[in-house]
């Protein structure tokens, strides 16, 4: 087996041996952490309320079933050849765009935004799929370009449009957080692909100038309120600032060692809204403290590290960019969410990957790791001439 060259076999059992099991183990650990925190957010049913803290319902069990489905997707994705993913990249991107349009037309409105699409067994959030689809599509596009083509402005028009379309669709939902996340992912892939640095400088400069104008004219009132609250959380402690004030209390009161499992007063006593979704990190921080958080950070860094390791070992451009993109996407997810609940950036509604309760994100994040694994398993694949990618 060890002599078996990577991706030279189509035997799935043989391929399993080529999977980056370290990455799988790390992701499983993160899932266990997520389930643990969701368990702590639940309640064990009892005859006379109030019931004891901690329970498999209503969040831990549904999340666990999605994770099992997610791992099935992960392994299935890993087994598929890189060629398959190259050839289907634009189709997946196209499907994601279609779903985003669909959500605009038929989607369910929740929390002031139109984000969900009912697909029978679950509420599907196309914008989550788009995050992976965009990585896939941009990886395919850039992996087919030569250095000179990458440096030409003309060749940047298509990928810019590929980013711009979903960003606009997502921003219209309105979902500012996902829009920003998509732009950051795209920026990372543009960067890793080799687009000149000065172009990033220019874009950043334009953004800095445009931001105040966007704040004034483009943002919805609730988004503006969140920015205002971010700038001065104490301005509205019981209103829009309630989230961030309570979130900081929750994290800060955890201290170095945490209050202990199921001993979090803030989250268990329901002072913290959205505790099981966007603010789940605060529940973790309250119960497990600084020490727990640092261990969690180490876990996240290890996962990104493994993604980067896949990229470096990959012998094809597509796999390299894809693996870096999946790792970067995971980092951006985690960073935006964590920085947001700590009050470092405005509350923009980005979940914590594999910790926040929510079906679509679990499935798409695991799908992303499946793509990285496919790049690992098929790292030695030599992909045909770049011109055919277009």
């Amino acid at each position: 087996m060890t002599l078996l060259a990577r991706s030279r076999t189509n035997n799935p059992i043989a391929k399993l041996a080529l999977v980056n099991w370290k990455l799988i183990a790390l992701v499983v650990i993160l899932c266990v952490v997520g389930i643990t925190v969701l368990y702590s957010a639940g309640r064990t049913p009892c005859a006379s309320p109030p019931c004891p803290f901690g329970g498999w319902q209503p969040w831990a069990v549904p999340q666990l079933s999605r994770m099992i489905l997610g791992f099935a997707i992960l392994f299935f994705t890993a087994m598929m050849t890189l060629k398959f993913w190259v050839s289907s990249a634009y189709w997946i991107y196209g499907l994601s765009i279609a779903l985003l349009v669909g959500v605009m037309l038929f989607g369910r409105v929740g929390m002031g935004a139109q984000r969900w699409l009912n697909i029978g067994f679950m509420q599907f959030q196309p914008s989550e799929l788009m995050k992976i689809a965009l990585v896939l599509a941009l990886s395919k596009y850039f992996s087919g370009l030569s250095i000179n083509e990458i440096r030409s402005n003309r060749m940047l028009l298509i990928p810019t449009a590929m980013v711009g379309l979903p960003v606009l669709l997502v921003a219209a939902q309105p979902d500012l957080g996902t829009a920003i996340q998509l732009m950051l992912i795209a920026g990372t892939i543009f960067f890793i692909a080799g687009v000149q640095k000065w172009k990033f400088g220019a874009v950043i400069a334009v953004c800095l100038i445009a931001a105040p104008l966007a704040y004034k004219y483009a943002l919805h009132d609730y988004q503006r309120a969140r920015v205002n609250v971010f700038l001065d959380p104490e301005s509205d402690v019981m209103g829009a600032g309630y989230h961030i004030t309570q979130s900081k209390i929750t994290i800060g009161s955890g201290g170095v060692w945490g209050k202990g499992f199921l001993e979090g007063t803030q989250s268990q006593l329901a002072f913290l809204p959205e505790k099981h979704t966007d603010f789940i990190f605060t529940m973790f921080a309250e119960q497990f403290g600084l020490v727990g958080c640092l261990l969690l950070f180490a876990l996240i860094i290890s996962i990104i590290w493994q993604c980067n390791a896949i990229a470096f070992k990959s012998r094809n451009n597509f796999g390299r960019i894809l693996a870096i993109g999946i790792g970067a996407n995971f980092f951006i997810y985690f960073f935006i969410n964590t920085a947001m609940v700590m009050g470092l950036i405005p509350v923009v509604g980005v979940p914590s990957p594999l910790m926040s309760y929510g079906g679509t994100a679990v499935l798409t994040v695991l799908f992303g790791f499946g793509l990285a694994q496919s790049a690992q398993v098929h790292g030695d694949t030599i992909l045909s001439s770049r011109s055919s990618y277009l």
Binding site: P50, S146, I147, I150, T188, F191, I192, A193, G194, Q246, K248, I249, T250, I251, G252, S253, G254, G255, V256, T265, Q266, L269, A270, F271, A285, G289, L290, C293, L294, F297, I301, I304, N308, A311, F312, R315, N316, N317, R320, I321, I324, A328, F331, F335, T338, A339, M342, G343, L344
Partner: protein, 611 residues
Amino acid sequence: MRDAELVKIFTRRALLIGVGEAALFAVLVARLVQLQVFENKKYTALSDRNSIRIKLVPPARGIIYDEAGEVLADNRNAYEIQMIPEEIIMRGRKVDEILDIIGTKISLSDAEKDRIRANIAKKRPFFPVIVKSHLSWDDMAKIQINNLELPGVFVEETRRRNYPNGEVGAHTIGYVAAPDENDVRRDPSPLLSLPDFKVGKTGIERVRDSELRGSGGEIVQVVNAVGRVIETIESRRRLPTAGQNVHLTINRELQRHAFATIKEESASAIVMDIWTGEILCLASVPAFDPNMFQNEEDGIERFRELVRSPRFPFVNKAIEGLYAPGSTFKMITALAGLAEGKITASSRYHCPGYLDFADSRYHCWKHEGHGWCDLERALAESCDIFFYHIATKVNMDTIQEFSDKFGLTSLTGIELPGEKVGQIPSRAWKRNFRSEAWFTGDTIISSIGQGFNLTTPIGLAVMTSRIANGGVAVKPHIIKWDERDQQFESMGLNAQHLAMVRAGMFAVLNKPGGTARGSAINVNGALMSGKTGTSQVRRITRAERLAGRIEQEDLPWHHRNHALFVGYAPYRNPRFAVSVVVEHGRSGSGTAAPIARNLMRKTLEIYGTGV
């Protein structure tokens, strides 16, 4: 790879991205350290404030005892029905249905039901709502035995203040009621915010409020964001400290007797120990039932009714009532005359029924006159003319000085709220407050306790005590002291003068012609001395005097004379002083003296004559 340059760029940039990610992680770590280490204290405090609710537990109020250890005010257990709407709904029942069932067991009016429904609407469903307070034991039992058909309904035990003697001693004991804005402003204690908490409003309940109150306990509860109690932290439970008991010098039996004796009159009666200053009885009639403030619903209506009464049941007349002392003041005039040497034991004046002085005619109450009077007879028969003669010779300031010494012009310092200060004019007083010079005519009027003279019944009790105890500056008190605290100084007065005045007071009751001859007592040989007083509420005009005497009975009640009596007993070994003022009681000998007689007789029966 065909494009080696691209791979190089990829490697460099991947490293750059890694560095960028590391830098951003460093930011997250720094923020975590800031929140969880440096600001941990602040956030822990905020978190506690979020989730910890401190519930105050009211202390049991101290008990007020009388001199013999009988209860004057204590606490009774009362029962209160409460319901938790959520528990009713959780068992598939409706609040209205439950209220109807309760209505079949105990009386529950539609208005009460509406109030309960309004309260439920205001509160979160798991907070208990009071259905009915102040339940009798029977009503409580009716709810308790039916608790199976009344889910979410339970009986709470509460405490209410109880005054077993009702209106007897109401002014002295006072009462407690819910605090008003003034109480809240004056008193920062968080106990006042408790819905059922009561504060002392008058009497001892007010002046000893802080001692009686005790200090509150605490129950520390963990609550969730909507205020539901999750658990009670037993280790932080603090029991309340019950208030201190207060022991009064009042004798409940004597107090009851005073009320029984005064009956329908508007009057006050005081019995005081002339040596210790202990007030054994301090009655003001009519009174009110302090229990009525414990039950708000019907209490307010009774309160309004009483407030409108012309006999001022809420005024403690014994210390707040100001009356012209009338003839009870004659002892002071006599002592001033004796002190200045203007009269002696042998001084005699003729009373033809009037005295002409400086173009004015001053009348004696006895139209036909008393004939020749010495001091003893003048006091015994209350001859005005004798004192007019003193007044023409003595300096008003001396009379005022003696009034001072005998406690008529300053607060006695009794531990009750609202005491008024008496007023005996001096030359300076009239100059300052009336902008007029003092005339001898003013002294004449003052000498018999009329004119500008005003005294309180407690002031008269002090005066009488100091005459009886030979000039010891006793002061009254109503809260029991330790024995060692009782130390009053002698004022160094002429004992002979005092003895002469006392002889006159003895004659008032015990010699033929004495104005209170009919009120003499003999309890195992103990006799009472005293002095009657009848003070005019309105002047008798010259026209009326010419038209002939007007009978007091013919006047409307509020124009009738005040009736006063001061006395002490036993004559030979004095121990107790009595002071009775009957508002519009017509005459001291007719109404005040008999009340004093009954009261003193009872006092001597209770305490013995000491002979």
